[in-house]
Symmetry: C4
Subunit: 232 residues, 4 copies
Amino acid sequence: MSRNQLLGDPANPIAPCHPLAGHESQIDELRATGAQFYQRGWSVGTSSNYSVVLRADPLELLVTASGKDKGQLAPTDFVRVGADGRPTQADQPKSSAETLLHVVVASVLPVGAILHTHSPWATELSQLYFAQGGIEFEGYEMLKGLEGIKTHERRFRFEIFDNTQDIPVLAEQVRQRLTDATNPLEYGYLIRGHGLYTWGRDVAEARRHVEILEFLLECQARKIQLVGPPSN
Amino acid sequence: MSRNQLLGDPANPIAPCHPLAGHESQIDELRATGAQFYQRGWSVGTSSNYSVVLRADPLELLVTASGKDKGQLAPTDFVRVGADGRPTQADQPKSSAETLLHVVVASVLPVGAILHTHSPWATELSQLYFAQGGIEFEGYEMLKGLEGIKTHERRFRFEIFDNTQDIPVLAEQVRQRLTDATNPLEYGYLIRGHGLYTWGRDVAEARRHVEILEFLLECQARKIQLVGPPSN
Amino acid sequence: MSRNQLLGDPANPIAPCHPLAGHESQIDELRATGAQFYQRGWSVGTSSNYSVVLRADPLELLVTASGKDKGQLAPTDFVRVGADGRPTQADQPKSSAETLLHVVVASVLPVGAILHTHSPWATELSQLYFAQGGIEFEGYEMLKGLEGIKTHERRFRFEIFDNTQDIPVLAEQVRQRLTDATNPLEYGYLIRGHGLYTWGRDVAEARRHVEILEFLLECQARKIQLVGPPSN
Amino acid sequence: MSRNQLLGDPANPIAPCHPLAGHESQIDELRATGAQFYQRGWSVGTSSNYSVVLRADPLELLVTASGKDKGQLAPTDFVRVGADGRPTQADQPKSSAETLLHVVVASVLPVGAILHTHSPWATELSQLYFAQGGIEFEGYEMLKGLEGIKTHERRFRFEIFDNTQDIPVLAEQVRQRLTDATNPLEYGYLIRGHGLYTWGRDVAEARRHVEILEFLLECQARKIQLVGPPSN
């Protein structure tokens, strides 16, 4: 069964006058993504949040509402927000507390979807490597799944930001790294003890990036299980 | 597919005169929870038990019957019990041997559901940390999924009780810790070599708490895999 | 969805004159068991075999045919065999090479079903503990899921036989341990580098025993991951 | 539910004039295989590729198109290619970059299907054992699932090739080892940091070989977790 066939909810369709009407297919893609990531253990306990970019100018995103079970998102568990992270429509549920982390990426990069997951390995490895500021990957064929990478010999540094409840401050830190003139952040980043953010031109590409980044973290952890913790 | 769509059993509905009639929706929530937890490996081999509070005064709970496969609970695999843990209706199956551990929580806290799971990590970590009496978690964003916690900087201590077949004695120990005036037990607890108990205002919240507590245990175990056993 | 609802194959029913006709419900239970164990990773690559006892005197079993994918057993992927392990009906597929390991249990104990699984941990732990002849479990609440055990303080020794391609010899070794007057083998056993055998009065009990024995092996392996290999 | 029942796409059938028309059943087998391997974590992030041999002389294969999500392959996500790895039909999607690794096996061995997976353990163990050129397995009952092996006492050496983006060069190295007169490569091989290739007379046998080789890698990794890294 296709993961996209999981969705739609004939018993509870989005009403024609609902603020989300017309966005059913993007909503269904995010719902399928949530069901998949929940099953993988990357989005349990109402953690994680997902968004798609509805338009670039003025910026508008569709983001998961706060506190929803990502394994069974309802068609109406989403919010439309603007460049300030606030709802653009009346009578919507509260958007995720981390909405600005979605907005900042969409305001800087030409992306179509942003995904945040919260797996056990992302949680632990972001703690273990926090003092070094990142985890470096090289020699992995899987790196080629990150859009634009053509060889396993390319090096990718998965940077780690410290966790905070002050999301505007973190969003500004991310903005600075995304727009760094000489060494901009690419593909995604980790938040210490919290999980990862990544993005893509559409939901499929962003989902692929999640799978690849989680795969790399899984490999890093398993390598440590095989040969011991990193000495540096 | 929504996990709640797993359920109902058209071939075997609860008869109108059955003691469980009228509670189909709560029963279906627990059945869906069982299917999910079984799949995760947290409720295999007929382990685990789940309950919902039907009313507070006089207290009545609906609890899983003893020895049922939690991955495929039938609509009638439940029992209504009172404040003494005994059936409130005639002709019901035997309730779980640990029924009093459900009753004691519902008699002290304003909860709607109590869930017990029995995962491999809960089993092993409750052994490993038994001498210290608990496992402390701090710095995890996932802590915020425990109702009322607002920051990852909050410390949570997951206390461990010794295992026993004398359930009334254990229930009394739990009651004392739940009602401790200065430092009451919060969110849940572990039983050594046995698993965890947690609760919430409804099944969804209790299930979220299970997912978060199992996530934290998973993280603790993986941390040990990465950096070795705790030295203290 | 109930695991037992996975089954039946309307497009390919067992014909009324087929040697398996009349045993559809037992066949469906074994097919559901196979789908479940395959998903868990305990029966991949056509490994494992399962049986039910059709009658005790003269002994007749229904056993999985040789070399079938246990994740998608067809209704006709089974064979009826007698006390000598040979087919009791004409025109049947070849039975599993290990058929005599099923027959020997059914000829000695009053069981209704015998299940063999082949998980990674059963494979590795049966190697690691082979020199000691078995793995001892005590202090696990999960032990109570083994029929007749009433407390976690009961000790269970999971014995290990050496692997061999000479099945009649192994079957005889198992028979001797099952009928040992002072210390008979209970609940199941391991074969080195190969997997486990267990049984029960029916498929549900045998399946529960598989889940419990696999859980205990999983716990033993995780304990070693946490605290290192056993020193004895 | 049979894995083969996952498939077909009534809403999007292969048109009668489509280059893939007439190959629906082989396509469905590969689509089911992809859904299964994706779920196991062996084919995430659009990694992996699969093929069936349509005819031997002149050689023609049906291969997965480049960059597709293996968890939800569409009926038209396949390409027909010839002995040079190029499309044999007009207006087809781009075939996998590793198409020649499929062609070389089919041009040398009498196989019906070739499967490439990309699991975390294949990735890490092929790095860990690269200096030794391979991983040796002996004493595993599961070895008997490799077609033609009759005893667990048989030794199997899983050879490792270095990774490269120059696929023709790697294909030639594989051809030489497959046709080595004294010690030909058998059953499959690993590519460093990349994954495994295996094959069989049909999709079912190739899939079984994937399951067995992944099982052996899983066992090797778990053994290291239990007793430490190999000393040689």
